[in-house]
Every structure is written in C-alpha cells, then in structure tokens.
C-alpha cells in the first residue's frame, strides 16, 4: 500500500485537487494499485497546487502542479516510487522555496492530517501545552512576554502584556476569543492554518486559557471560509475526544472548551470590539475604548482577543522557550511573520520568514515577478487599509516600525502585487468605496467621509475644480485619520494618500487620457 498526500486546502480545491483525487482513484482502480490517500492542508506554495506527494524510502516526494490529465502519465512514470517526471519537485524540504523559510507556526501545515491528534502529537504537537500544564499562570504569561510576540492581526500590541492584564483582572468568568475574521484582501494565513493544522490553534488557545484563567474560547471566523469552519470544528471534536479539550484536560484539573462562531460577511467584525458585539449577537458596531476588552470584553468579562497567528505562535514558544522565539526577527519585531504573497505574482503563497526581509526579495526572488509578465508597478501591503508602495520603496524591511516610517503598515502580512496596468486613482477610489460599504456607521468621519471620498476622487479624475478638490481630499483624509472611532475610518486614508503621493500622475486628468493603464481599463 502506497501512501499519497493530497491537500484539501480551499486554494488547492479551487485549483482542482478533488478532480486530481478522482482521476487518481479511477486510474489506480484500473491498474489494481492500492493507495492510502491522506488529505492534508497546503504547504503554502499555491503556485504548485495541487501538490501531490508520495511516501517513499527517501521521504515524501512531491509533484506539482498536478492536473487530472497528468495522472496516467505520472503512474506510467512510476509515480509511486517517486521517480522522475517533468512535474517532480523532489522532497519539499529540499526545495529552495520551502527550505529557505523559517517555519515555526506553519511547520506542520501541509504535512499532517489536520484532524488526527495522533499525527499532530507525532509532529511535536501538544508539547507546549504539556509544559504549560506544569507551570503557574504567571510563568506561562512570562514565557510569552519573553518571546516578544506582538499581535499578528495588524496592531502589533505585545501579546504577553495583553494576557497579563486579563490574568490580573478578577472575574467569575474569562474568555479567550480568537479573531479569525481574516477579511483583508491578500491574506489567507488564518484560513490555511485552520484548514491545515487547526490543532495548533486549539493548543495555543488552551495555553492562553491556562495563562489567564479562562474557561471558554470562541473562534470567530468568516462565512466566506466554509472549509476552514468544517475542519476547525472537526479538530475541536477530535481534541475533545482525546482529552486535550473539555473538562479536566489530561487529568490536570483544568477545563477549557472552544466553540466556532461564523460571521456574516461584515469586514468591520475583524475590528476587535465590533467582533465582540457580533459574538454577543448584536450589530457588529465598534465600541469606544476604554474599557479595554482585556478588562471588559465579551459579555463584560475580561477577554483575551488575539489573532489566529498570535495564538498559533504560542505552542512553539511554550515548547521551545520564549528566548528561542525572540532569537528570530529584527528590532522590536521578534519571531516570524507569515507573509502572504498574492495578487499579480508568478509564485504566490504563504512564506513564513523571520521579520526583516525586504519586499523586493519577496516579490522578485520568492515571487518571481508578476504573473502577467508585465512590469511591476505597485504593491499594497497590509490589506485594504495598507499603503500602495512604488518600486523605490521595495527595500523597506518587513518590520512593524520600518513600515510605519515609510507611511504604511504590515497589517496581517498580506502583500498584493500589481503590474503596470493598475490605475492607482481607481484603487484609491476603491479604498473609499470599500469603507463606505463596510463602515459600521457608528462614527461620522468614517460613515460620511468614505462616501464623500468617492465623490471627490470622481471629480478629480474628471478634471473638475482640481485645485479645490485636492484640498478637500487632503482635509477629508486628515479628518478621517484623526476623528474616526476605529482603524477602519482611521486608516482608509493610508491607501488613498500613498497612491496620491507615489502615483500622482494617475490622479491628473490630463495625463490620464494618454496613460496606457487607463486606456486599457477603458477597453
């Protein structure tokens, strides 16, 4: 019996993994071959998906991207013994695209069966939780403080300090809420982890619960992620069955359980206070802070609110020590960042790297340039509220502070590449339009400002009173930045002003008439 690994990550499925599976099963039946097919997550090389792996004496040998039509040829070429073929990648761990990463959080993603506790254990899983169960709450929190871990959702707040606030706040009930409302365009790391190695998130949340004394956890994720919801629910059930979740975890006397909740298509619910209101069953409107969620969060109780990737970094930190994690990275950005290389890029996917690499290295060396083959023109980092950078800023290192100095933000690590057909005035308009659609409506600068922003950009590109309208735009951006209640309205000016600063020609109605991208867009 030969073991085959085939991803069922949503991206792999979108690229035909299930069609490959059916072709493989049919062809194997025809040839009387016995196969043991394990469905995994993705290793993150979306450009190689579907990536099929065969277990051989030399290890797992990968082939990709595989289409159903390739299956007969692959079997003719003795796929099952890992032999040569045009699609052969070799051992993934030897391939430079994987070998040059620093995989800590995603070390098991794409490798293990996401629903198998046994497989998870065999790959080092639950070592962090086992250790945490022998430690005091304070020692668990201190370990996370030592690691220098900062919130991976975008704000970059030190995770250990947040946990300590919750730990020190007395209450009858405390919550761990995992923010898995990954709405930023260009990001898919949370989805990949929930589909490929969900037990890491279960373990990270359980360690957080021990650190702060919480008994109930919620994972708030997206209705756009039906596969992640299914796998996450399956993993929670498997962990419960194996005694790693629920009452009296592994005989420790500690109890903690997790429930998955699904949002309903509102981007704003990725904002932590809006998420809390949504979890409570209300409209997802932003709350004024203070009180901090760490003191009065879900149902008024002290609540740890962390992104998927913050919580998923914790098992490694507890297993290997905070200092080992802090040894990766630069400046005040310690550890690794799961970069999601997306958009118009030849080799897109998830690349986990220590902080400090440059955008240029990511786009040119990892990404291999644009997918279209046309010249690079712009990159948006950090989702719809992130800045558009031109070529001359590509040497900016991936570091929270370096990005802030360059007028941008790292956000959740999404990097969206655009070729020279992009119209930055259209992108700036979209930033306002998106804010108008997704604003929760609670504060005026965001609710009204976004609508006015669309109108002003329309007037600018039409050449109507441009001097006056540039002034209005500047004033509007300043107001939204300073007076919005949360980051939605407060950061929407970032894509707008960065587009305006770095690509002013796109906003000049006279120059637009002869610009190639505008001519193309009008076709």
């Amino acid at each position: 019996m030969t073991r085959i690994y085939l991803p069922q990550d949503a991206a792999s499925l979108a690229l035909g993994a299930d069609r490959v599976l059916r072709a493989l099963q049919a062809e194997a039946a025809r040839r009387n071959l016995a196969l043991d097919i394990v469905r995994t997550g993705s290793r993150g090389a979306i450009w190689l998906e579907p990536l099929l792996e065969v277990e051989t004496a030399e290890g797992r040998i990968a082939y990709g991207p595989v289409s159903p039509n390739d299956i007969p040829g692959l079997l003719d070429a003795s796929l099952l013994s890992g032999s040569a073929h045009a699609l052969r990648i070799g051992r993934p761990e030897d391939h430079p695209w994987f070998a040059n990463q620093q995989r800590l959080t995603f070390v098991r993603c794409g490798v293990v069966d996401p629903l198998s506790v046994e497989d998870y254990r065999a790959h080092g899983g639950f070592a962090g939780l086992e250790r945490a169960l022998t430690m005091s709450a304070e020692a668990v929190v201190d370990e996370v403080k030592t690691s220098g871990l900062r919130g991976r959702g975008g704000a970059g707040f030190p995770t250990g300090i947040k946990w300590n606030t919750v730990r020190m706040t007395p209450a009858d009930r405390k919550y761990i809420v995992c923010n898995a409302d990954e709405g930023d365009s260009g990001t898919f790391a949370d989805r990949m982890l929930m589909e490929g190695d969900p037990l890491t998130l279960v373990e990270g949340m359980t360690i957080a619960a021990i650190g702060v004394g919480a008994t109930k956890g919620y994972i708030y994720t997206r209705s756009e992620y039906p596969h992640a919801v299914r796998t996450m629910n399956g993993a929670i059930a498997a962990a419960r069955l194996a005694g790693w979740l629920g009452d009296n975890i592994k005989g420790s006397g500690r109890s903690f359980d997790i429930e998955v909740r699904v949002g309903a298509g509102a981007y704003i619910c990725g904002e932590e206070t809006s998420l809390l209101d949504s979890l409570e069953g209300k409209r997802g409107q932003v709350r004024a802070k203070p009180p901090l969620p760490a003191i009065q969060g879900l149902f008024g109780r002290p609540t740890v609110m962390n992104n998927v990737l913050s919580l998923a970094a914790v098992p490694w930190i507890l297993a290997h020590g905070g200092a080992a994690y802090a040894a990766f990275g630069m400046g005040r950005s310690r550890g690794t960042l799961a970069v999601q290389l997306a958009g118009n890029v030849a080799r897109g996917g998830l690349i986990e790297l220590a902080f400090g690499g440059t955008l240029r290295d990511l786009i040119e060396n990892w990404g291999g340039g644009t997918a279209s083959g046309r010249p690079f023109r712009a990159v948006q980092v950090g989702g719809p509220l992130g800045a558009y950078f031109p070529e001359r800023l590509l040497d900016t290192p991936m570091d929270y502070e370096a990005f802030a100095r360059a007028g941008g933000l790292l956000g959740h690590g999404g990097v969206v590449v655009f070729d020279d057909t992009v119209d930055l005035a259209a992108q700036a308009r979209f930033a306002f339009a998106f804010c108008a659609i997704e604003s929760c409506g609670k504060c005026t600068p965001c609710r009204i400002g976004a609508v006015r922003g669309v109108e002003v950009i329309d007037r600018l590109v039409a050449g109507i009173e441009t001097v006056k309208n540039f002034e209005v735009l500047e004033d509007l951006c300043e107001l939204m930045t300073d007076a919005s209640l949360c980051a939605m309205g407060g950061l929407t000016p970032i894509p707008v002003t960065s587009a305006l600063t770095h690509f002013p020609d796109d906003f000049d109605h006279k120059l637009r008439r002869s610009a190639p991208h505008v001519a193309q867009a009008a076709e």
Binding site: A10, A11, V416
Partner: protein, 176 residues
C-alpha cells in the same frame, strides 16, 4: 423539510431551486435549538438561512420572543450583515471576489462582463431563477485569483471563458 412551493410554478415562474416554502413550525424548531447559546442571534440567523435560503421576515418576531429582545433589535442585526438575504436566491449562488488581490488579475472586468451577460446587478438573480451573483470581499484565495465560491465550492484563476462555460453547463440564458 417542506418541499418547494407550487405557487411559483402555478404563476408560471421558475421556482428558485434551493428555497423551501416558509414553515413556521420548522423555524420555531430551529430557533429553539439555538436559543440557549451565548449570543444566539447569528447562529439562529445562519441556521434559518441554511434552511430557507434567506431569512424570512416572519421569523424576526419569533427570534425576538425567544431571545427576549425587541423586533427592532433583530431587524437591526439582520439588516447589518451582508450575508443575510431578504428573498430566496437563485438555484446557484456565485460569490465573486471584488477585493484588491483579485482586482490585480482582472476581477473588475470579469465581474462587469458577467453581470452584463446575465443582465443582473450585484445581489440580483437572473430572470430564469438559475443564478444569484453576490459580491465577496476576499475569499482567502488571493494567490490564485480571480476567485469565487460557487454554491460553497471554491474556484480559482477565473476568466470570461471559464465562467461562460460554467453558465452554459447550468443552462443559463447568457447574452453575448
């Protein structure tokens, strides 16, 4: 679950395939099954939409009663979230991504062409009841766009001809 109505067929309108008729008893069962949860509103609304294809207006008062909230509060929640439909969808629901990563690989023109060919607007259903086209702002398929979810199944690297082939497969009326 009650079978789809005959009133649509009687009126000569193709019945939207997935949407069973309003059934107060079934709605009551769904609400009761979730009412004990912390923050039960969204789980109830999702379960109702799973059963009926949309959130029937009639259910709002029932949810309000079960959760000891006002009807206005429930109406406010239903109308806040993009997901919750106020009318049954078509037989197939295509959620097409409109966000930046998909824009960078041609999603804007792709969507414009599709809507024009089907003669619908965002959120609209084709006259034959076969297709509902909804916008999505990121499906997490950003390294293989343009992306979509077709009845919950992910699609990648879409283009005009792939979408047209899909439409033809379902017998949709497509303008050139």
């Amino acid at each position: 679950m009650t079978q789809s109505t005959s009133s649509h067929q009687a009126a000569g309108i193709a019945s939207p395939g997935l949407a069973p008729q309003w059934d107060a008893a079934e709605a009551a069962d769904i609400i009761a099954a979730h009412a004990g949860m912390e923050g039960a509103t969204l789980p109830i609304l999702h379960a109702l939409q799973d059963a009926f294809g949309f959130v029937p207006r009639e259910s709002e008062a029932m949810i309000a009663d079960a959760l000891n909230l006002s009807r206005a509060e429930i109406r406010g929640v239903v109308s806040f979230y993009h997901d919750f439909r106020s009318a049954p969808p078509g037989k197939h629901v295509l959620k097409l991504c409109r966000a930046e990563a998909c824009q960078s690989v041609g999603a804007v023109a792709l969507a414009e062409n599709l809507l024009r060919r089907l003669a619908v607007e965002w959120g609209g259903t084709t006259k034959d009841g076969a297709w509902t086209i909804e916008p999505a702002y990121c499906l997490g398929l950003c390294a293989c766009g343009p992306a979509a979810l077709l009845d919950g199944e992910p699609l990648a690297r879409l283009n005009d001809s792939k979408l047209a082939a899909m439409l033809r497969d379902t017998g949709a009326t497509v303008m050139p």
